[in-house]
Amino acid sequence: MGAGIARVIARAGCETICHDVAPEGLARARAVTAKFFASSVKRGRMAEGEDAAALARMTDTTDLAALAEADLVIEAVFEDLAAKQELFGRLNTLCKPETLFASNTSTLSITEIASGCGREDRVVGMHFCLPAELMKLVEMSRGMNTATAAFDAAWAWVKGAGQVPVETQDRPGFILNAVLVPFNNDVIRAIEAGVAEPADIDLAVKAGLGYRMGPCELIDLIGLDTQVRLCEAFYPVTLNPRAAAPPLLRRMVAAGHLGRKAGRGFYDYREEAGA
């Protein structure tokens, strides 16, 4: 996710420092980025030569201190409150006072992530959609202590980068996941209750509602293990029974039917993959 966000930033003309604890992840991401920019030029979405220029604006580092002079730091570390708090706490001691901190969290509270970092007034929620380099929408939220000027500056930056910001309150899952997580669970429960087969549900949703993807196709793409993790983030804070992981979902994860990446989920992809 972080690599996709970095592509958005570099494409927008900003100097972009990509920080990760794992150097091999940075190298992998750089190769994908080069390919992506090259194909953007081929498709006419980027001017000739702009691919090399954008790539040249990106540097990789495993040294957090390299971010000291950044105007904006967008964190996209794994979804864990303590990890994000610790990171912002360390960044606070390293970065210049004006640096804005943004979190790409999908489910955690911006107020809680900012809590104790030392610059709670300059932390905002900035939730990109996957893949960030192709999806324009960014859900933005203020923590309880976020200053208006900081939020406005972050909002203007997102717009300037060619993305489309929408404002939401700092609530579990913002808009997108608050809609999607219970809906996906409802779909899984309908399958478990024998209401219809996954293919019939997908067909009904696409033909009847005009959604681009059927929900079973989408869950297979997201990963069933990720859906469990989303449920585990949501249910304890919302106590919404529809956000609790359905038993069928847990059984499928236990059986290794994790979705596309595992070759099978609600659909079987093994033949497609040539297995």
Partner: protein, 212 residues
């Protein structure tokens, strides 16, 4: 295979206009189509399929929970439609327990021959689409009341972030909040599931309709 006999029971939500293959009804055709607000229908075991249009009710309202062999060719259906939007091409085909596979195949062939896409489901409240979307529409209406975001922001998130052709709020409002209430109330009665409890905005729409 689009040869059918049509029995009209008032206005049909699925086929408000009967043109093309449905323009003609032929007595004794293999497929018998009951359109509109269908009441009690006599068994017709010699037909390839007997098809009953459904609204919010389960097919078992027409057939009972144990239909018996003479009704094993009888299935339910509804063509999906958001409020008074034009009907979509989706036909939800309701297969009761014990339905003949031949009747299912005949029903599918019939609907496909008139250009519809067929999704098969069991005889459960809300079939596929309403079962899944109504709680989501209630969520969206409640989020609006709770100040999570503006309707515009929510609708934009659905279109740009989730790939929906329209936002949940615009869709629910276009389909009619009173109609949403009607469907939710039916599903809540049938399931007891509080996710179908109509959101405040839908209850208000219903109350305003009653006052007029």
């Amino acid at each position: 295979m689009s040869d059918c006999e049509i029995v009209l029971h008032g206005e049909s939500r699925s086929f408000p206009v009967r043109d093309g293959a449905l323009a003609e009804s032929r007595a004794g055709a293999p497929v018998l189509l009951h359109l509109g607000q269908v009441g009690e229908v006599a068994p017709e075991p010699r037909r390839a399929a007997v098809l009953i249009e459904l609204d919010t009710e389960c097919l078992s309202v027409h057939l009972g929970d144990y239909p018996g062999a003479e009704r094993a060719n009888t299935l339910g259906f509804a063509r999906y439609r958001n409020g008074n939007d034009a009907p979509t091409n989706l036909v939800e085909l309701v297969r009761p327990d014990g339905a003949e596979p031949e009747a299912l195949a005949a029903a599918r062939a019939f609907f496909e021959s008139i250009g519809c896409q067929v999704a098969v489901c069991a005889d459960r409240p809300g079939r596929i689409v309403d079962r899944l979307v109504r709680p989501k529409y209630n969520d969206a209406l409640r989020f609006l009341d709770d100040g999570l975001a503006t309707a515009t922001a929510m609708d934009m998130t659905c279109r740009m972030g989730l790939g929906y052709p329209d936002g949940l709020i615009e869709r629910t409002e276009r389909g009619g909040l009173a109609r949403h209430h009607e469907i939710c109330a039916a599903l809540q009665e049938l399931t007891g599931n509080p996710a179908y409890a109509p959101a405040r905005r839908a209850v208000v729409a219903m109350q305003r309709k009653a006052r007029r």
